[in-house]
Symmetry: C2
Subunit: 192 residues, 2 copies
Amino acid sequence: MSHSVYGRLMSVDRTQVLRAAAALLSRRATATMDEVARAAGIGRATLHRQFAGRDALVRALEELGIQELEAAHDRARTGEGPADEAVRRLVAEVEPVAPLLSFLVTENQLFEGDQQNEGWARLDARVSDLFRRGQEEGTFRIDLTPAWLTEALYGLIGSGAWAVQDGRVAAKDFQYMIVELLLGGARRSVEK
Amino acid sequence: MSHSVYGRLMSVDRTQVLRAAAALLSRRATATMDEVARAAGIGRATLHRQFAGRDALVRALEELGIQELEAAHDRARTGEGPADEAVRRLVAEVEPVAPLLSFLVTENQLFEGDQQNEGWARLDARVSDLFRRGQEEGTFRIDLTPAWLTEALYGLIGSGAWAVQDGRVAAKDFQYMIVELLLGGARRSVEK
DNA sequence: ACCGAATGAGACATCAATGTCTCACCTGAT
DNA sequence: ATCAGGTGAGACATTGATGTCTCATTCGGT
Protein backbone atom coordinates (compact mmCIF):
# COMPACT_ATOMS: atom_id res chain seq x y z
CA MET A 1 0.00 0.00 0.00
CA SER A 2 2.96 2.23 -0.49
CA HIS A 3 2.13 2.95 -4.10
CA SER A 4 -0.26 5.16 -6.03
CA VAL A 5 0.52 8.23 -4.01
CA TYR A 6 1.97 10.27 -6.82
CA GLY A 7 1.23 7.82 -9.54
CA ARG A 8 3.69 5.05 -9.11
CA LEU A 9 3.25 2.06 -11.37
CA MET A 10 2.99 4.42 -14.31
CA SER A 11 4.58 2.63 -17.19
CA VAL A 12 4.30 5.58 -19.52
CA ASP A 13 6.75 8.32 -18.82
CA ARG A 14 5.06 11.67 -19.17
CA THR A 15 8.27 13.41 -20.13
CA GLN A 16 9.04 10.78 -22.71
CA VAL A 17 5.61 11.26 -24.26
CA LEU A 18 6.16 14.98 -24.32
CA ARG A 19 9.47 14.58 -26.07
CA ALA A 20 7.94 12.35 -28.71
CA ALA A 21 5.12 14.84 -29.20
CA ALA A 22 7.60 17.67 -29.49
CA ALA A 23 9.62 15.79 -32.08
CA LEU A 24 6.56 15.04 -34.19
CA LEU A 25 4.77 18.36 -33.87
CA SER A 26 7.96 20.23 -34.62
CA ARG A 27 7.96 18.53 -38.00
CA ARG A 28 4.23 18.55 -38.66
CA ALA A 29 2.41 21.08 -36.54
CA THR A 30 -0.95 19.74 -37.71
CA ALA A 31 -0.34 16.18 -36.57
CA THR A 32 -3.34 14.43 -35.04
CA MET A 33 -3.69 13.31 -31.45
CA ASP A 34 -3.76 9.80 -32.81
CA GLU A 35 -0.50 10.36 -34.64
CA VAL A 36 1.05 11.85 -31.55
CA ALA A 37 0.00 8.82 -29.55
CA ARG A 38 1.45 6.42 -32.08
CA ALA A 39 4.64 8.46 -32.29
CA ALA A 40 4.94 8.15 -28.53
CA GLY A 41 4.25 4.45 -28.73
CA ILE A 42 1.11 4.62 -26.61
CA GLY A 43 -2.61 4.37 -27.20
CA ARG A 44 -4.76 7.36 -27.88
CA ALA A 45 -6.74 6.71 -24.72
CA THR A 46 -3.62 6.83 -22.61
CA LEU A 47 -2.51 10.03 -24.24
CA HIS A 48 -5.89 11.47 -23.34
CA ARG A 49 -5.55 10.26 -19.77
CA GLN A 50 -2.35 12.25 -19.38
CA PHE A 51 -3.37 15.38 -21.24
CA ALA A 52 -6.98 16.49 -21.06
CA GLY A 53 -6.91 17.45 -24.73
CA ARG A 54 -4.88 18.92 -27.50
CA ASP A 55 -4.77 22.29 -25.80
CA ALA A 56 -3.48 20.74 -22.63
CA LEU A 57 -0.83 18.88 -24.60
CA VAL A 58 0.32 22.03 -26.32
CA ARG A 59 0.37 23.89 -23.03
CA ALA A 60 2.45 21.12 -21.52
CA LEU A 61 4.82 21.37 -24.47
CA GLU A 62 4.99 25.08 -23.83
CA GLU A 63 5.99 24.40 -20.24
CA LEU A 64 8.61 21.94 -21.39
CA GLY A 65 9.98 24.34 -23.97
CA ILE A 66 10.14 27.24 -21.57
CA GLN A 67 11.78 25.04 -18.98
CA GLU A 68 14.44 23.87 -21.40
CA LEU A 69 15.05 27.35 -22.71
CA GLU A 70 15.55 28.69 -19.23
CA ALA A 71 17.90 25.81 -18.54
CA ALA A 72 19.77 26.73 -21.70
CA HIS A 73 20.06 30.29 -20.45
CA ASP A 74 21.41 29.10 -17.14
CA ARG A 75 23.94 26.81 -18.74
CA ALA A 76 25.03 29.56 -21.11
CA ARG A 77 25.51 31.95 -18.19
CA THR A 78 24.18 34.78 -20.30
CA GLY A 79 24.83 37.22 -17.53
CA GLU A 80 28.56 36.72 -17.55
CA GLY A 81 31.35 37.89 -19.81
CA PRO A 82 31.14 39.87 -23.04
CA ALA A 83 27.60 40.01 -24.40
CA ASP A 84 28.49 38.78 -27.86
CA GLU A 85 30.15 35.70 -26.45
CA ALA A 86 27.13 35.16 -24.25
CA VAL A 87 24.92 35.21 -27.32
CA ARG A 88 27.19 32.65 -28.89
CA ARG A 89 26.89 30.35 -25.90
CA LEU A 90 23.16 30.88 -25.74
CA VAL A 91 22.58 29.86 -29.33
CA ALA A 92 24.75 26.81 -28.82
CA GLU A 93 22.71 25.73 -25.80
CA VAL A 94 19.41 26.50 -27.46
CA GLU A 95 20.11 24.52 -30.60
CA PRO A 96 18.64 21.21 -29.36
CA VAL A 97 15.41 22.99 -28.46
CA ALA A 98 15.24 24.97 -31.70
CA PRO A 99 12.61 22.87 -33.49
CA LEU A 100 10.34 22.90 -30.47
CA LEU A 101 10.86 26.61 -30.03
CA SER A 102 9.95 27.14 -33.66
CA PHE A 103 6.76 25.15 -33.22
CA LEU A 104 5.74 27.03 -30.10
CA VAL A 105 6.39 30.43 -31.61
CA THR A 106 4.22 29.59 -34.60
CA GLU A 107 1.55 28.17 -32.32
CA ASN A 108 1.55 31.36 -30.30
CA GLN A 109 1.10 33.41 -33.44
CA LEU A 110 -1.90 31.38 -34.53
CA PHE A 111 -3.85 31.67 -31.32
CA GLU A 112 -3.76 35.31 -30.54
CA GLY A 113 -5.36 36.80 -27.53
CA ASP A 114 -6.03 34.00 -25.12
CA GLN A 115 -3.25 35.05 -22.77
CA GLN A 116 0.16 33.60 -23.39
CA ASN A 117 2.22 31.85 -20.81
CA GLU A 118 4.05 34.18 -18.50
CA GLY A 119 7.17 32.13 -19.05
CA TRP A 120 7.60 33.73 -22.44
CA ALA A 121 7.70 37.13 -20.84
CA ARG A 122 10.43 35.92 -18.50
CA LEU A 123 12.43 34.52 -21.39
CA ASP A 124 11.94 37.60 -23.51
CA ALA A 125 13.18 39.66 -20.62
CA ARG A 126 16.30 37.57 -20.22
CA VAL A 127 17.18 37.76 -23.90
CA SER A 128 16.28 41.40 -24.04
CA ASP A 129 18.41 42.12 -21.01
CA LEU A 130 21.32 40.39 -22.63
CA PHE A 131 21.14 42.63 -25.67
CA ARG A 132 20.65 45.69 -23.52
CA ARG A 133 23.69 44.78 -21.51
CA GLY A 134 25.64 44.44 -24.73
CA GLN A 135 24.56 47.90 -25.74
CA GLU A 136 25.58 49.39 -22.45
CA GLU A 137 28.94 47.69 -22.69
CA GLY A 138 29.38 49.20 -26.12
CA THR A 139 29.45 45.81 -27.80
CA PHE A 140 26.12 46.10 -29.60
CA ARG A 141 24.76 48.95 -31.63
CA ILE A 142 22.14 51.07 -29.96
CA ASP A 143 20.03 51.84 -33.00
CA LEU A 144 18.50 48.34 -32.95
CA THR A 145 16.18 47.92 -29.99
CA PRO A 146 16.63 44.98 -27.61
CA ALA A 147 13.03 44.01 -28.36
CA TRP A 148 13.77 43.73 -32.05
CA LEU A 149 17.02 41.87 -31.51
CA THR A 150 15.09 39.41 -29.38
CA GLU A 151 12.49 38.93 -32.10
CA ALA A 152 15.21 38.56 -34.67
CA LEU A 153 17.00 35.94 -32.62
CA TYR A 154 13.82 33.87 -32.37
CA GLY A 155 13.16 34.35 -36.06
CA LEU A 156 16.63 33.30 -37.09
CA ILE A 157 16.54 30.27 -34.83
CA GLY A 158 13.23 29.28 -36.38
CA SER A 159 14.49 29.81 -39.89
CA GLY A 160 17.63 27.88 -39.08
CA ALA A 161 15.70 24.98 -37.64
CA TRP A 162 13.52 24.73 -40.74
CA ALA A 163 16.45 25.14 -43.09
CA VAL A 164 18.24 22.29 -41.36
CA GLN A 165 15.14 20.14 -41.35
CA ASP A 166 14.65 20.65 -45.06
CA GLY A 167 18.30 20.04 -45.76
CA ARG A 168 18.95 23.52 -47.08
CA VAL A 169 21.57 24.09 -44.42
CA ALA A 170 23.90 21.54 -42.87
CA ALA A 171 23.08 20.80 -39.24
CA LYS A 172 26.66 21.40 -38.22
CA ASP A 173 26.48 24.96 -39.53
CA PHE A 174 23.37 25.84 -37.54
CA GLN A 175 25.07 27.73 -34.75
CA TYR A 176 27.60 29.42 -36.93
CA MET A 177 25.11 30.69 -39.48
CA ILE A 178 22.79 32.11 -36.88
CA VAL A 179 25.36 33.67 -34.62
CA GLU A 180 27.46 35.12 -37.39
CA LEU A 181 24.51 36.69 -39.14
CA LEU A 182 22.99 37.98 -35.95
CA LEU A 183 26.21 39.43 -34.63
CA GLY A 184 28.12 40.32 -37.74
CA GLY A 185 25.53 40.73 -40.44
CA ALA A 186 25.89 39.86 -44.07
CA ARG A 187 28.11 42.72 -45.07
CA ARG A 188 31.75 42.09 -45.27
CA SER A 189 33.41 43.91 -42.48
CA VAL A 190 36.86 45.44 -42.23
CA GLU A 191 37.63 43.93 -38.88
CA LYS A 192 37.62 40.22 -38.23
CA MET B 1 -24.84 38.04 -76.52
CA SER B 2 -21.54 39.71 -76.05
CA HIS B 3 -21.32 38.84 -72.38
CA SER B 4 -20.59 35.75 -70.31
CA VAL B 5 -17.57 34.80 -72.33
CA TYR B 6 -15.06 35.25 -69.57
CA GLY B 7 -17.54 36.01 -66.88
CA ARG B 8 -18.63 39.55 -67.47
CA LEU B 9 -21.34 40.87 -65.16
CA MET B 10 -19.28 39.66 -62.26
CA SER B 11 -19.96 42.06 -59.46
CA VAL B 12 -17.40 40.53 -57.13
CA ASP B 13 -13.83 41.37 -57.97
CA ARG B 14 -11.68 38.30 -57.61
CA THR B 15 -8.59 40.31 -56.83
CA GLN B 16 -10.42 42.31 -54.22
CA VAL B 17 -11.58 39.11 -52.55
CA LEU B 18 -8.04 37.81 -52.57
CA ARG B 19 -6.74 40.96 -50.95
CA ALA B 20 -9.33 40.76 -48.22
CA ALA B 21 -8.50 37.10 -47.67
CA ALA B 22 -4.82 37.93 -47.53
CA ALA B 23 -5.40 40.65 -44.99
CA LEU B 24 -7.44 38.39 -42.74
CA LEU B 25 -5.40 35.21 -43.05
CA SER B 26 -2.20 37.13 -42.45
CA ARG B 27 -3.55 38.04 -39.06
CA ARG B 28 -5.32 34.79 -38.24
CA ALA B 29 -4.07 31.90 -40.32
CA THR B 30 -6.81 29.64 -38.99
CA ALA B 31 -9.68 31.85 -40.10
CA THR B 32 -12.71 30.03 -41.48
CA MET B 33 -13.99 30.16 -45.03
CA ASP B 34 -17.05 31.85 -43.59
CA GLU B 35 -14.93 34.48 -41.92
CA VAL B 36 -12.98 35.04 -45.10
CA ALA B 37 -16.22 35.50 -46.99
CA ARG B 38 -17.55 38.02 -44.49
CA ALA B 39 -14.21 39.83 -44.45
CA ALA B 40 -14.47 40.13 -48.22
CA GLY B 41 -18.05 41.30 -47.92
CA ILE B 42 -19.47 38.43 -49.91
CA GLY B 43 -21.46 35.30 -49.17
CA ARG B 44 -19.84 31.99 -48.44
CA ALA B 45 -21.48 30.47 -51.50
CA THR B 46 -19.95 33.09 -53.75
CA LEU B 47 -16.56 32.56 -52.22
CA HIS B 48 -16.94 28.90 -53.00
CA ARG B 49 -17.95 29.67 -56.56
CA GLN B 50 -14.72 31.53 -57.11
CA PHE B 51 -12.39 29.18 -55.29
CA ALA B 52 -13.14 25.50 -55.34
CA GLY B 53 -12.17 25.20 -51.70
CA ARG B 54 -9.80 26.32 -49.04
CA ASP B 55 -6.85 24.75 -50.80
CA ALA B 56 -7.70 26.57 -53.99
CA LEU B 57 -7.97 29.82 -52.09
CA VAL B 58 -4.60 29.35 -50.47
CA ARG B 59 -3.07 28.42 -53.79
CA ALA B 60 -4.54 31.55 -55.33
CA LEU B 61 -3.08 33.56 -52.48
CA GLU B 62 0.23 31.90 -53.20
CA GLU B 63 0.00 33.03 -56.80
CA LEU B 64 -0.84 36.53 -55.70
CA GLY B 65 2.00 36.63 -53.22
CA ILE B 66 4.54 35.31 -55.69
CA GLN B 67 3.32 37.76 -58.28
CA GLU B 68 3.67 40.71 -55.93
CA LEU B 69 7.05 39.57 -54.72
CA GLU B 70 8.35 39.29 -58.25
CA ALA B 71 6.94 42.72 -58.97
CA ALA B 72 8.78 43.97 -55.89
CA HIS B 73 11.97 42.45 -57.21
CA ASP B 74 11.47 44.15 -60.54
CA ARG B 75 10.79 47.51 -59.00
CA ALA B 76 13.78 47.17 -56.73
CA ARG B 77 16.00 46.36 -59.71
CA THR B 78 17.90 43.86 -57.63
CA GLY B 79 20.24 43.19 -60.48
CA GLU B 80 21.62 46.69 -60.58
CA GLY B 81 24.09 48.60 -58.45
CA PRO B 82 25.83 47.51 -55.26
CA ALA B 83 24.30 44.40 -53.77
CA ASP B 84 23.77 45.85 -50.31
CA GLU B 85 21.84 48.76 -51.71
CA ALA B 86 19.82 46.36 -53.81
CA VAL B 87 18.90 44.46 -50.66
CA ARG B 88 17.83 47.71 -49.10
CA ARG B 89 15.57 48.51 -52.03
CA LEU B 90 14.21 44.99 -52.07
CA VAL B 91 13.16 45.06 -48.43
CA ALA B 92 11.53 48.43 -48.96
CA GLU B 93 9.49 47.12 -51.88
CA VAL B 94 8.62 43.88 -50.12
CA GLU B 95 7.35 45.54 -46.96
CA PRO B 96 3.71 45.85 -48.08
CA VAL B 97 3.65 42.14 -48.90
CA ALA B 98 5.41 41.09 -45.72
CA PRO B 99 2.35 39.86 -43.78
CA LEU B 100 1.16 37.79 -46.71
CA LEU B 101 4.65 36.44 -47.25
CA SER B 102 4.80 35.46 -43.61
CA PHE B 103 1.49 33.64 -43.88
CA LEU B 104 2.52 31.76 -47.00
CA VAL B 105 5.86 30.71 -45.59
CA THR B 106 4.18 29.29 -42.50
CA GLU B 107 1.55 27.61 -44.64
CA ASN B 108 4.27 26.01 -46.74
CA GLN B 109 5.94 24.69 -43.62
CA LEU B 110 2.75 23.10 -42.38
CA PHE B 111 1.91 21.20 -45.52
CA GLU B 112 5.10 19.51 -46.42
CA GLY B 113 5.49 17.27 -49.38
CA ASP B 114 2.65 17.98 -51.72
CA GLN B 115 4.84 19.85 -54.18
CA GLN B 116 5.27 23.52 -53.64
CA ASN B 117 4.66 26.14 -56.24
CA GLU B 118 7.52 26.54 -58.67
CA GLY B 119 7.26 30.28 -58.19
CA TRP B 120 8.99 29.95 -54.85
CA ALA B 121 11.95 28.34 -56.53
CA ARG B 122 12.16 31.27 -58.94
CA LEU B 123 12.01 33.77 -56.09
CA ASP B 124 14.53 31.87 -54.02
CA ALA B 125 16.81 31.88 -57.01
CA ARG B 126 16.50 35.62 -57.48
CA VAL B 127 17.24 36.38 -53.84
CA SER B 128 19.97 33.81 -53.75
CA ASP B 129 21.54 35.27 -56.88
CA LEU B 130 21.51 38.68 -55.31
CA PHE B 131 23.49 37.50 -52.33
CA ARG B 132 25.81 35.53 -54.55
CA ARG B 133 26.44 38.60 -56.64
CA GLY B 134 27.21 40.53 -53.49
CA GLN B 135 29.73 37.92 -52.50
CA GLU B 136 31.41 38.01 -55.87
CA GLU B 137 31.58 41.78 -55.70
CA GLY B 138 33.24 41.50 -52.33
CA THR B 139 30.38 43.25 -50.58
CA PHE B 140 29.08 40.24 -48.67
CA ARG B 141 30.97 37.70 -46.64
CA ILE B 142 31.48 34.37 -48.25
CA ASP B 143 31.23 32.20 -45.15
CA LEU B 144 27.44 32.56 -45.07
CA THR B 145 25.85 30.68 -47.95
CA PRO B 146 23.41 32.46 -50.26
CA ALA B 147 20.84 29.79 -49.36
CA TRP B 148 21.10 30.67 -45.70
CA LEU B 149 21.03 34.39 -46.31
CA THR B 150 17.87 33.86 -48.32
CA GLU B 151 16.28 31.90 -45.50
CA ALA B 152 17.38 34.50 -43.02
CA LEU B 153 15.88 37.29 -45.09
CA TYR B 154 12.53 35.52 -45.17
CA GLY B 155 12.75 34.79 -41.47
CA LEU B 156 13.56 38.37 -40.55
CA ILE B 157 10.79 39.71 -42.73
CA GLY B 158 8.37 37.34 -41.05
CA SER B 159 9.59 38.27 -37.59
CA GLY B 160 9.40 41.91 -38.49
CA ALA B 161 5.87 41.62 -39.79
CA TRP B 162 4.71 39.92 -36.60
CA ALA B 163 6.57 42.32 -34.36
CA VAL B 164 4.90 45.22 -36.10
CA GLN B 165 1.52 43.58 -35.95
CA ASP B 166 1.86 42.99 -32.22
CA GLY B 167 3.13 46.46 -31.64
CA ARG B 168 6.54 45.38 -30.42
CA VAL B 169 8.21 47.31 -33.20
CA ALA B 170 7.05 50.56 -34.78
CA ALA B 171 5.88 50.12 -38.36
CA LYS B 172 8.10 52.95 -39.53
CA ASP B 173 11.17 51.08 -38.29
CA PHE B 174 10.35 47.89 -40.18
CA GLN B 175 12.72 48.41 -43.08
CA TYR B 176 15.52 49.84 -41.03
CA MET B 177 15.50 47.11 -38.41
CA ILE B 178 15.53 44.32 -40.95
CA VAL B 179 18.05 45.75 -43.34
CA GLU B 180 20.44 46.93 -40.68
CA LEU B 181 20.44 43.63 -38.86
CA LEU B 182 20.70 41.60 -42.02
CA LEU B 183 23.50 43.67 -43.50
CA GLY B 184 25.33 44.97 -40.48
CA GLY B 185 24.50 42.58 -37.68
CA ALA B 186 24.07 43.41 -34.05
CA ARG B 187 27.67 43.96 -33.17
CA ARG B 188 28.91 47.47 -33.09
CA SER B 189 31.21 47.95 -35.98
CA VAL B 190 34.23 50.20 -36.35
CA GLU B 191 33.19 51.53 -39.69
CA LYS B 192 29.93 53.32 -40.30
C1' DA C 1 0.31 -17.30 -8.26
C1' DC C 2 -2.60 -13.48 -7.14
C1' DC C 3 -4.53 -8.89 -7.54
C1' DG C 4 -4.96 -4.16 -8.42
C1' DA C 5 -3.74 -0.60 -11.60
C1' DA C 6 -2.81 1.00 -16.00
C1' DT C 7 -2.95 0.23 -20.78
C1' DG C 8 -4.58 -0.56 -25.77
C1' DA C 9 -8.09 -1.12 -28.83
C1' DG C 10 -12.20 0.03 -30.40
C1' DA C 11 -17.06 1.74 -30.28
C1' DC C 12 -19.46 5.87 -29.86
C1' DA C 13 -21.20 10.67 -29.59
C1' DT C 14 -19.94 15.34 -30.57
C1' DC C 15 -18.39 19.23 -32.92
C1' DA C 16 -16.64 22.36 -36.29
C1' DA C 17 -15.53 23.26 -40.82
C1' DT C 18 -16.20 22.04 -45.46
C1' DG C 19 -18.52 21.47 -49.67
C1' DT C 20 -23.05 21.11 -52.23
C1' DC C 21 -27.42 22.47 -53.33
C1' DT C 22 -31.77 25.14 -53.69
C1' DC C 23 -34.25 29.24 -54.08
C1' DA C 24 -35.64 33.92 -53.70
C1' DC C 25 -33.80 38.31 -54.91
C1' DC C 26 -31.38 41.79 -57.19
C1' DT C 27 -29.09 44.01 -60.96
C1' DG C 28 -27.69 45.29 -65.46
C1' DA C 29 -28.37 44.80 -70.34
C1' DT C 30 -31.62 44.86 -73.99
C1' DA D 1 -40.62 45.98 -68.69
C1' DT D 2 -38.34 41.85 -69.31
C1' DC D 3 -34.94 38.43 -68.61
C1' DA D 4 -30.67 36.04 -67.90
C1' DG D 5 -26.91 35.75 -64.83
C1' DG D 6 -24.92 36.46 -60.37
C1' DT D 7 -25.59 36.69 -55.65
C1' DG D 8 -26.84 35.87 -50.51
C1' DA D 9 -28.86 33.13 -47.22
C1' DG D 10 -29.72 29.05 -45.47
C1' DA D 11 -30.54 23.96 -45.39
C1' DC D 12 -28.13 19.83 -45.79
C1' DA D 13 -24.79 15.94 -46.03
C1' DT D 14 -20.00 14.86 -45.29
C1' DT D 15 -15.77 14.65 -43.34
C1' DG D 16 -12.07 14.61 -39.89
C1' DA D 17 -10.65 15.28 -35.43
C1' DT D 18 -11.84 15.32 -30.71
C1' DG D 19 -13.29 13.61 -26.39
C1' DT D 20 -15.64 9.82 -23.64
C1' DC D 21 -16.49 5.33 -22.44
C1' DT D 22 -16.13 0.22 -21.95
C1' DC D 23 -13.69 -3.96 -21.63
C1' DA D 24 -10.31 -7.42 -22.20
C1' DT D 25 -5.44 -7.73 -21.47
C1' DT D 26 -1.11 -7.01 -19.50
C1' DC D 27 2.17 -5.63 -16.17
C1' DG D 28 4.21 -4.90 -11.63
C1' DG D 29 4.27 -5.58 -6.79
C1' DT D 30 3.32 -8.64 -3.14
